[in-house]
Symmetry: C2
Subunit: 78 residues, 2 copies
């Protein structure tokens, strides 16, 4: 299991929990909306700094995002 | 608290727990030794894919590395 593959879905889950649009998250994180979309779809390879900005935009830190990634990955495997 | 700042120290802790040299971890992860050194010192900004390869080289996944990062950060703040 590579949790990197589930970082995007974890970002989407937290964004939707906050009822934020990709545009609103992009603005909070200081990142382009299309980049957020690419990260959520798993077609982007964000750097550690960008991942930290996305986490802050979601009001969580990276340990929380990867715990969510683990949860999503585990559920998909079951 | 930005856990990105503690990713390097977390990599170092797991590497030392396994009694691996930077050279050995670099080989396992398929990354240059000097890059591992830079990540551990926090002067590199690794991508998600590279971070996943480092985690695999340490025999853990990214949730575990960021949980260790949280532990190190919390202890340093106390």
């Amino acid at each position: 299991m590579n949790l990197a593959d589930y970082f995007g879905p974890a970002v989407r889950r937290h964004r939707e929990l906050l009822r934020l649009s990709q545009e609103e998250l992009a603005e909070r994180a200081g990142i382009d909306r299309t980049y957020i979309s690419g990260v959520e779809r798993g077609v982007r390879n964000p750097s550690l700094d960008v991942m930290q900005r996305i986490a802050r935009g979601l009001g969580v830190d990276l340990d929380v995002l990867f715990a969510t990634a683990r949860e999503i990955a585990t559920r998909q495997d079951s």
